[in-house]
């Protein structure tokens, strides 16, 4: 069924697409190692964050926290804000986003297009700073509804109820699930669901490694681990820098024709590393990974150009 009552109703059920050319060749006589891309850019506003945003708003409406005309406050590096902005517009809420100043210009443009207001947080400290500033503003404005994706169980639950089941339904033989680590909602929710279905599944986290400015915290206690994070769900966790992420996102475009955002490059890098290990060990694998969004919002960085250099991302929050 591809007919929906509204844009919101078309959330999820994104395609899982095989990567026949990018999947590595197995050794002779050994089972296949296959990569599968979960195309989250096919959601209503073009990212996986539509699942999180809609689940958090639905939950806040159900519990009575969110009333007509209310103002929502959220720290975001872009995608969650964009998703919330669309839903807020459609359902009649106001949205204030706290966003690090070092994000791509497209994010600001899209947020403003849907009527969101933006408060910028300092570049140093990246999303940690956005979270800190948003928490401060929330305390000063208790009448605003602070959905807080990093600690809101509805975020994890969205992926437990939708992303995980969709992957399992389309690929019951899935052996590895690879996703980005931000709020940790995707990995916690989908990971928990998939682990319940198959205790042997590997849940792999790909964490973006930014330029130095983002790690320029005032002190170590300004570090941050999202409240949703539960390390027991994760099997392995990789840190992927801008250079590898850009190389992979271009490879995905060149080899399979898929135009993805930069954070997907980090996820693909981890997925390909796992795939190679499986080939070397002579074991078969069905590796599903998340395509968080498409590349449109990152065109201004220039990283899709043939002579592009990942150094342009230095100091930017590219994931």
């Amino acid at each position: 069924m591809t007919r929906y009552e509204s844009l919101e109703a078309s959330l999820g059920h994104t395609p899982l697409i095989g990567l026949p050319k990018l999947s590595p060749k197995s050794q002779p006589g050994k089972p296949a190692v296959r990569l599968w891309a979960k195309m989250e850019d096919r959601n209503p506003t073009g990212s996986i964050k539509d699942r999180t945003a809609m689940a958090m708003i639905d939950d806040a409406e159900k519990t009575g926290r969110l009333k007509p005309g209310a103002t929502i406050l959220e720290p975001t590096s872009g995608n969650t804000g964009i998703s919330l902005a669309m839903v807020a517009k459609v359902r009649g809420y106001n949205l204030i986003c706290v966003m690090p100043e070092n994000t791509s210009i497209e994010r600001t443009q899209i947020l403003e297009m849907w009527g969101a207001k933006i408060i910028y947080s300092p570049a140093a400290g990246g999303s940690n700073e956005a979270v800190r500033v948003a928490k401060e503003i929330s305390e000063q404005n208790p009448e605003w509804v602070f959905l807080y994706q990093y600690g809101n169980p509805a975020n994890t639950l969205a992926h437990y109820n939708t992303t995980g089941p969709e992957v399992f339904e389309d690929l019951p033989t899935v052996t590895h699930f690879v996703a980005g680590l931000g709020t940790t909602g995707t990995l916690m929710g989908a990971g928990k669901f998939l682990r319940e279905k198959n205790p042997n599944i590997a849940i792999i986290a790909a964490e973006p490694r930014y330029g130095e400015v983002v790690y320029g915290l005032r002190n170590l206690d300004a570090g941050f681990v999202p409240e949703l994070y539960d390390a027991s769900i994760i099997t392995r966790r990789f840190s992927v820098g801008a250079e590898d992420s850009v190389r992979r996102v271009r490879e995905l475009l060149e080899v399979e024709g898929i135009f993805a955002g930069i954070s997907t490059g980090a996820i693909l890098h981890a997925a390909l590393g796992i795939a190679k290990e499986c080939v070397d060990a002579g074991v078969g694998a069905d590796i599903a990974f998340i395509v968080c969004d498409a590349g449109w919002k990152y065109l201004s960085t220039g990283i899709y150009g043939k002579d592009s250099d990942s150094e342009v991302l230095d100091g930017q929050l590219w994931a």
């Binding site: 320029g216 300004a222 941050f224 994760i234 994931a319």
Partner: protein, 99 residues
Amino acid sequence: MSTPVSAPAIEVRIPTILRPYTNSEKVVSAEANNLGELIAALNSKYVGLGERLLENNELRRFINIYINDEDVRFMGSLAATLKAGDSVTILPAVAGGCK
């Protein structure tokens, strides 16, 4: 074939926030067979660094350490083994990714 007598020298990347302990060096080196040994060796060269990384002999909550880009917490933490050519990166925990 001779058995190596010394542990391999491991390159360690130090984040800005910890460089006051390493005379502002971004990359330092120490010999160790596992992460626990590495931190001990670093601490003997750069006094006070170990305490910033460990608390009650475990990694501090807001410290992440990676061996060749993989998080050591999923590789045995302080028992994670090191071999010649490995690269270790220390980073403070920041929120990141797709959000």
